[in-house]
């Protein structure tokens, strides 16, 4: 049991080959690893690139699935100004961005 836990921890801390390449060669992680790229203009506009799908849309909460996790936005009067295969623009009063 103890061994199993230790192995799981090791697995979590292990850095993948891609991540290593990004680190060593100083490559953009959004291109190589497909990480979500977030660009915020104040707390009123947010652009999200490299997302997979919308999990939940509500006036005060938007949950978006990405390749390596989930992004939860909370705020007020949240509006998806537009979205397409690559990019999404969210406007409104953004209070919190949480990665999980």
């Amino acid at each position: 049991m103890k061994k199993e836990r230790r192995l799981k921890k090791q697995k979590e801390n292990r850095i993948s080959a891609g991540e290593q390449a990004v680190h060593v060669l100083n490559l953009p992680p959004d291109c190589v690893l497909g990480d979500a790229l977030l660009s915020a203009i104040g707390n009123r506009t947010l652009y999200i690139e490299n997302y997979s799908r919308i999990l939940c849309y509500e006036d005060d909460c938007i949950r978006i699935e990405c390749r390596h996790g989930m992004i939860t936005l909370t705020g007020a009067r949240l509006t998806i100004a537009y979205f397409n295969a690559h990019e999404m623009k969210i406007t409104g009063k953004i209070e919190q961005i949480r990665f999980s």
């Binding site: 919308i54 949240l78 509006t79 998806i80 537009y82 979205f83």
Partner: protein
């Protein structure tokens, strides 16, 4: 802006979506490359906008996700076109109005005079009217060069004129000469004579024989530069004479006197506060009063506030509108106090000085005395100025010198 224009051109539909799997609906739309915009929650329902042409593509997605939609709003050109088809007469009216506006651009509706100082805009416009250049003339019939030439010929002291056609406006730009008076073109040879008693301060002769020099005192009518130029022989005897147009810049110091009596008692208008406002609309010259109230006032002022209808800055239409205010007043007898009388007298004297300043004449000295004599406030003043004093006068036959031709024949 461009994007909004494009969306309006293609037509935009605002749709409310209902059901359990709204997120799935959005994700499938994205996978099918349907462009959804402005997804927001309104009154508890999820609303989005999309191009009108793509609405039909939603049908299989709605079926798949068990969602329903309701169209809330339609806007854009495709829907406007449908509306217009229903209201054909309205569309015809719009097209006719457009055609009428376009046809109005072929005419001149507004004539503006710019840069005028001593001539009023009305004076210049009246002159143009006498040339058949009036509001409503076809632009093709307006010859700007001919207008410029006619104005230059008619008004001697307008030194520069430019007629500009801009939109439905004819703008006459003029530049007046108020420094010196340009002499009318004389055919016969002429002298330059003094127009006032003066002391010559400077003289620069270009043609003719100068008869005065700097510092000379001259009287009105004295010849300053003669138009007769004598030709001398080897002995210094006058052999012949030439007649020329005397030309020189002659400045002299002259004195003007000023005398004015201002009565201490005067009448002044006092508005009673009663007024009538009439609204009017004017098409070309035909005036249509929209509201007419009878005037029962004995003495009144009529103030007109006129507005010209223009679509753009230079696209004037032959339509005016405005208000006509009739204000009642009565005459009130008043008397100047000593301070008021002095102030009024000083203002009058300054107005007299301003005429020189506007003409570019240099004022050397000014003196004025204000006295109250009996019922009048009397202003006496003198102003010494330096101004051009030359005036044209034709050479008379009697002024020509006699040439003794006999002596010359003998020597030959």
């Amino acid at each position: 802006m461009v994007q909004h224009g494009f969306q309006w051109f293609c037509g935009t539909v605002t749709i409310a979506v209902f059901g359990e799997e709204i997120q799935r609906f959005f994700n499938i739309c994205r996978a099918n490359e349907l462009f959804l915009r402005d997804i927001q929650t309104e009154n508890g329902q999820t609303v989005f906008s999309m191009n009108a042409a793509e609405v039909k593509k939603l049908k299989p997605i709605l079926k798949k996700t068990h969602t329903r939609i309701r169209i809330l709003k339609k806007k854009g050109l495709p829907f406007l076109r449908l509306k217009i088809r229903k209201k054909r007469s309205f569309a015809v009216g719009v097209i006719l109005a457009g055609m009428m506006l376009y046809s109005l651009t072929f005419f001149i509706w507004n004539i503006t005079v710019e840069g005028n100082y001593s001539y009023t805009a009305g004076e210049i416009t009246d002159f143009l009217n006498s040339m058949q250049i009036t509001g409503g003339i076809l632009k093709a019939n307006v010859d700007c060069d001919a207008i410029e030439k006619a104005i230059r010929n008619q008004y001697n002291d307008i030194t520069w004129v430019c007629a500009e056609l801009n939109g439905t406006r004819l703008i006459i730009h003029i530049k007046e000469n108020y420094d010196t008076q340009i002499p009318k073109e004389e055919v016969d040879p002429y002298h330059l004579t003094a127009k006032r008693d003066a002391v010559v301060t400077s003289i620069l002769t270009r043609s003719g024989t100068p008869l005065v020099k700097q510092g000379d005192t001259v009287k009105a009518g004295d010849i300053l530069v003669s138009g007769i130029v004598s030709v001398y022989d080897d002995n210094g005897e006058p052999m012949d004479h030439l007649l020329v147009n005397a030309d020189a810049d002659i400045y002299g110091e002259t004195t003007y006197t000023y005398h004015k009596e201002i009565p201490l008692s005067y009448r002044e208008k006092e508005y009673t506060g009663n007024e009538i406002v009439n609204y009017y609309c004017m098409i070309d010259r035909g005036r249509l009063l929209l509201q007419t109230q009878k005037t029962e006032f004995a003495d009144y002022d009529r103030l007109t506030d006129d507005h010209w209808v223009s679509v753009l800055k230079n696209f004037y239409l032959p339509v005016h509108y405005g208000t006509e205010t009739i204000r009642e007043y009565r005459w009130v007898d008043k008397t100047y106090t000593e301070a008021e009388a002095n102030q009024a007298a000083e203002a009058d004297f300054n107005l007299f000085l301003e005429k020189f300043i506007k003409k570019g004449i240099q004022i050397i000295e000014k003196n004025d005395t204000i006295q109250i004599i009996g019922e009048n406030c009397v202003v006496d003043g003198t102003v010494t100025v330096v101004e051009p004093i030359g005036k044209v006068r034709p050479v008379e036959q009697s002024e020509l010198p006699e040439i003794n031709t006999e002596g010359t024949e003998k020597t030959e």
